[in-house]
Amino acid sequence: MNPRFLQCLLAGSVLLPLVGAEALPDNLREPVSVLRSIRPEGRGNVAAAVAWKKLAAAEARNLPALLAAMDGANDYALNWLRSAIETVADRNRAALAGAVPELARFLADTVHSPRARFLAFELLSQADSARAATLLPGFLNDPGNELRRAAVQQLSEGASAKAKAGEKAAAVTDFQKALAAAREADQIEGIAKQLTELGEKVDLQKTFGWVTRWKVIGPFDNAGGAGFERAFAPEQGVDFAAEVEGMKGRVAWRDFESKSDYGLVDFNQPFTSLKSVTGYAAAEFWSDSARPVELRLGCKNGWKVWLNGKFLFARDEYHRGVEIDQYRLAAQLQPGRNVILVKCLQNEQTEDWTKEWEFQLRVTDVQGTPIVSTK
């Protein structure tokens, strides 16, 4: 265990370092604790407003400590702390240059919150943009998405320049390196497009890591949207051998393998273009170990998702749009066999742009690195 992290644990529930540049002076410990105690629905806002003023009055030398206070903070607290740090930086613009060495040390320590480290990078960039530029390539495989993204962008821009200069081999090498590091869909697609233009083949399905082998069953009813709340047979338990009552008679699970670059599970293929219907898709997903993952879903229909019978999330919005990783569902894989169940609902709309009855799903870590089934 990282010694600093151990120190944080020993500091108690607030998890603040006790010594070093990241140690908060006594007068800032209590306000930090208040901000980190912010809860949903604005609970804690009143005390936070008072605490925020104390933090915003801090000195530039306290910046690493305030950044460290973001470690493990919830999304509300991150914003309160960010705003205080920005205010300190604005008020101490001249002193920011003196804080560069400490900011660089903070940035290099990946135990810190990715967001805190990116903010440290932004502050460092404001104080010493040349130094920031030299640090950027080192973040290509960073655990923080914002830093990683910036490094991927820098590498891709360099590769583009090489391609324009006719240095194809060098450009391809850099693009492939960038593609391996990229975790966000727009960057993956952009780099893949440029590689394709250079004559290189990119397996998008594999790069994104879609779950492609499913079993599907349907159709079930969704007249008037009532299918969303109605628990049809697959929700009682996934039994691939079972034949159950569907909307128009008995229905059974059937194999469906997505051939799409984007892993689309298109219910219109097995069931034809239907309206006011419900379909289910289930996939076995094998894991060597128990581990936290994200199930990342893109879907413009109504949907519900379960993992191993545990309900994760649902949404009853239809045909407003879809994108890769539209919904990120935190989940826990168990060792061995897991079963992902997706309920996908089509409504009654008849416009051209409402034909889709489909979804895409991949399993990733929190950063978006694909995790594939081991079987």
């Binding site: 915003a56 999304d75 960010r82 705003s83 919005e317």
Partner: protein, 420 residues
Amino acid sequence: MNSLTEFAMSLTANVRPTFHNRWLPAAAMALALAAHADNWTQWRGPLGNGVAPDVSLPSQLNAQSIAWAADLPGRGLSSPIIVGERVFLSATSGAKQDRLHVLCFSLADGSLRWERQFWATGRTMTHEKIGGAAPTPTSDGERIFALYSSNDCVALDLDGNLVWFRGLGRDYPNASNSLGMSSSLVVAEGVLVAQVENDSESFTAGLDAKTGENRWKLDRPKKANWTSPSLFKGDGGKTLVALQSSKGLAAVDVRTGAVVWNYGEGASTVPSTTIADGKLFVPSNGLTVLEPGAGETPKQVWRSPQLRPGTSSPLVLGGKVFALNDGGILSCGDTADGKRLWQLRLKGPFSSTPVAAGGFLYCVNEKGLLQVVDPGLPEGGVVSELDLGQEVLGTPSVAGGSLLVRSDRKLWRIGRPSAL
């Protein structure tokens, strides 16, 4: 002064403009202080109807009319709001538009006074045209409040100090719209009204302006809704907020969230209700005019299918009501009976809502062409144009004898140079 004007004045009465920008040259400061520091504290101005009372703007615009243009760090179609000598604007940036910006500019010279950034805690996916900074911020004179498509809501004092932060999309995780959310904020009687209406977890919240905590939270129709709330005075002097939706319009007590009356004949989910002369001009079945009375049900004054607004909301000026469709046809009707008086073809397409000042209408199309319309001409007429050269989707604001218009990249101040 009618009751609505009095009401609007009461909303802004406590505004005491402060001015201590150490970077601003002294001469510019003196000029700025001499300027009329009127406030434009919400989408469509202090009256919430797009009309700048007692303000004269030049009707002949040209390239020399641009006082300044400031660069923006992010996208948006929200309108600027103005409190004293400060112009506040929201924007979003980043590949996922998940970086939320609040910007404060000097009205005098467009210099950036301060900027604050936040991370979105709710979903940021939107249609390309809407983006993350569609709702216009508002101010109670002491604080400014900014809401984003992610349903993150920020309160800052006028100097940029954080007062509170709410992640409404985080608190209520199905409160989002994959096309984007655009309802602007209003604030009255210490309550900030955030209309968070969508196909799934649909509600409107009354947030305590001082703390951000829920004063009330009202379940609303489960249907995507891009309209904005409008404030008006109800029976007995109660401040009511009109919440328009696909179902119609609900008048809600701003202090308690209690529904006072309902109009249930359906309404558009894009253009918003305009309140003028004690009446509600509702984009419903074309345009429907309601007159609230002592009873629970408002009286329908007239209805006109011919005066159907597009994305733009209706505007009322001098006994005439104007409805602009997306293609650029400006229809003028009589507010007394809804009779269509004339139609004028402007150069479209339009997403923004016109504003009125000094008897003229200022209409900016999506291509950034600002067209000044004289509605006093027999069939209306365009009297000047100014090409801003960039896509403009947001509604202009009026302050300090000038128009403020924003694109994804620029904020312009446009007016009579000698008056600025």
